[in-house]
Assembly symmetry: C2
Homo-oligomer: 499 residues x 2
Amino acid sequence: MTFEEKIREIRGYVRKMELLDHTRAVLHWDLEVNTPPGGVKPRSEALGYLAGETHKLTTSPVVGEYIAWLEEQQLEDPVHKAMLRELKRSYDRMTKIPAERYMAFARLTSEAQSVWAEARKRNDYEMFKPYLQQILEFQKEFVGYLGFKANKYDTLLDLYEPGLTTETLEHVFGELRDKLVILLRELQEKGTRPDNSFLNGKYAEDAQRALNERALRLIGFDFQKGRMDVSAHPFTTSFANGDVRLTTRYAEDDFLSSLFSTLHEGGHALYEQGIADDLVGTGLANGVSMGIHESQSRFYENFIGRSREFWLNFHKDVAAAFPQLATVTPEQFYRAVNIAQPSLIRVEADELTYSMHIIIRFEMEKALINDELTVDDAPAVWSEKYASYLGVAPSNYAEGILQDVHWSGGMVGYFPSYALGNLYAAQIYNTMLKDLNVPTLVASGDLSPIREWLREKIHRHGAVYTPSELVVMVTGEPLNASYFVEYLKNKLFEVYRIN
Amino acid sequence: MTFEEKIREIRGYVRKMELLDHTRAVLHWDLEVNTPPGGVKPRSEALGYLAGETHKLTTSPVVGEYIAWLEEQQLEDPVHKAMLRELKRSYDRMTKIPAERYMAFARLTSEAQSVWAEARKRNDYEMFKPYLQQILEFQKEFVGYLGFKANKYDTLLDLYEPGLTTETLEHVFGELRDKLVILLRELQEKGTRPDNSFLNGKYAEDAQRALNERALRLIGFDFQKGRMDVSAHPFTTSFANGDVRLTTRYAEDDFLSSLFSTLHEGGHALYEQGIADDLVGTGLANGVSMGIHESQSRFYENFIGRSREFWLNFHKDVAAAFPQLATVTPEQFYRAVNIAQPSLIRVEADELTYSMHIIIRFEMEKALINDELTVDDAPAVWSEKYASYLGVAPSNYAEGILQDVHWSGGMVGYFPSYALGNLYAAQIYNTMLKDLNVPTLVASGDLSPIREWLREKIHRHGAVYTPSELVVMVTGEPLNASYFVEYLKNKLFEVYRIN
């Protein structure tokens, strides 16, 4: 068998794993978007069964042989190297976890997401607590199988951002928090808070949906290769680069929340739609890490959506959707969407205080996984941290500990990706400005060169390069948090009319 | 191992087959209802892959052992007997078909359904023709594997109505056709055709949807255990008795088409929602045959939906949805929806001429499978048959040979189930009248005793009893076509004011 024939054989096997992933993703998406109450239990069973099939495919002895063969070759093509890296990663991890436990976890988290959605609606933490407890027990059990060096939490972080450690995050977040606290104080003391009272009003869901669709078309989302739906917590999933689905949700009194969440998910979706066709069958046709993924979503949500130039163009679409806002100027919109204001809901937070929401979750997850915090005490600690870091306190669970979907889906260790995404996004944006006149493009409403730049530099590569390789390839240097703080300071001093 | 332990082991295995069926059904439903154009190819690949998994599970040597063990037992429980029957049926069939060909057929039909929907929209038979050709080749190839006695078409009929033969159908349909032709002539010559001109108008989709939902609630559809969506061709699918999904479609100038199609699919859905919980894991938690399934859909569409009493109650809902119809009397509605009028579209046909649409498809399928007709000649033959049997001719493919989804989905041999469904429905209705005062219940708007009667006698049993066993259990005699003709004659003579 020639090298090419063997590679083709391996790709055939990997394609089966991809089709199974596709299948599970469809069942998950449908569970969040469409499934009636009576369908949750059988769906959870089906997802448990399919998790077992994934376990089988991933840990099959034939995969061990493929890995051994690939390791013996002098691999030159970065795609082949990355195939080896990813096959090894999932094989090493999955062979340590008993199939039966992996399946049980899949069943639990499928069911828990519906329970969470209902508990959030009813503002009932007790309803969700036993599920949270079980999910944390599973996570600790899995850390036991997988092992850890310095901190149990590292093993979970590694799932979403390979190589990321608790120690690194403590350092980065410590510095970030200090700088942001100073910046926030300066704005509050010396700045002029923009007015946003003109946003009070009612916004019909149909009009919001149409506006979101306009925003998605504007950034270059292809509706022939994807769709937008409604779910309890916005998310994006990809079944293939030709079928990428994002969700949003609607509140009658706040169209901006849905708009920015749509731009955020749209950023994720552009990444997945932009992955090269020829990565099908390599296991690399997906975003490389959640940190890089969040850089794309936070880029479109904030660097684009909260820019002055975006509102120079988009205000007319808003006025068309909501005639009561026809007299609002672009500058008024721009300043209103950049108010730095401690608040309770992470996904609605401004760019400055957003990181504090992440730091709180990081600290809580670290404590929960290391048995330094119980699920009974968690809501009180949540409130204390919000009071201490942001000076606000939730009046109920729905705007407190029940606000996020992640834990119910078993995604403990995910949140830091968001903060990392902000840092990556600022650094990438800084490089993009050297190639493109971004403000002019955004003001003109022609955002396609921006999408093409990102597609060429980032999207098309899927998971071929590691996050650290990619950030150096794109920006010429490793992750550097200073771009983000610098960007925020410049922008917010101007918005708040300081100096 | 005790008898009970072995049965539990077998049920555990069968449950895996059910969960895989659930999975494939979700992917199919999503393909018809939600998938954007870019998602069709990868979805077809995924469905091909999953068909292979079904093939593996169904033909595994362990199934052969289960069958052998079951055959050795003195089975008494009808559920155990039926488990053996169904396991044997799928094992015997599937072991004869090569896995690779079964997978290729699944890929083809998944893709073909999207091509068909597009071809129908564009009125382009040439676009669909190569797919139809390949599907027919596959069907003939499968008949080759499975064998046949008198007629190749028998093997396909058996998939949807076990035991049904071409010869039986030729006999039943011959007699039916003769009687219906006489009845239609009598109506036309001696009767007074009801007026339906008051139905001309525009009906907003939102209002149609709300009206359909009311109709579904009226017949007892449980929205906690199912949902209603839109697709190119209406269908019903079940992922579990707690998650049953039906679809409809909307035409702005005809709300009755969507309403009757919703009642039809609602009848299918009640069957699936009514299957007993304890059949989970037996492989019997589904309708027993398509003939029995169609008896439930045609019952709600026609015996209920086209009854005088239905309109006595429902006309006020129609008036609320469409104020322009507020002055139409129940009697006007009743007579208008019972006009016997040769037409082009099967799903919109009246009860009398409907069977002629089925007979045409039966004759064409029989000819296509036996190489007595080519896909090139099929549209012309279609037109000839419509002209000869119904006196109408399609002016385009969309209202001719491209109108039905079945062939694109690989369902050759399905159509006769509809005609059979009419016959079963009339016979079941005749028995129901002995237990329930159906007209009074329908007029009062309390249809729950009707659903409960059907649930008790038919729905809850799933596939435990064969169609012929079931019809005798319910009605006390084998299938008897005379009830249907009698019912039609009585009703239509009255509607057409003859005597």
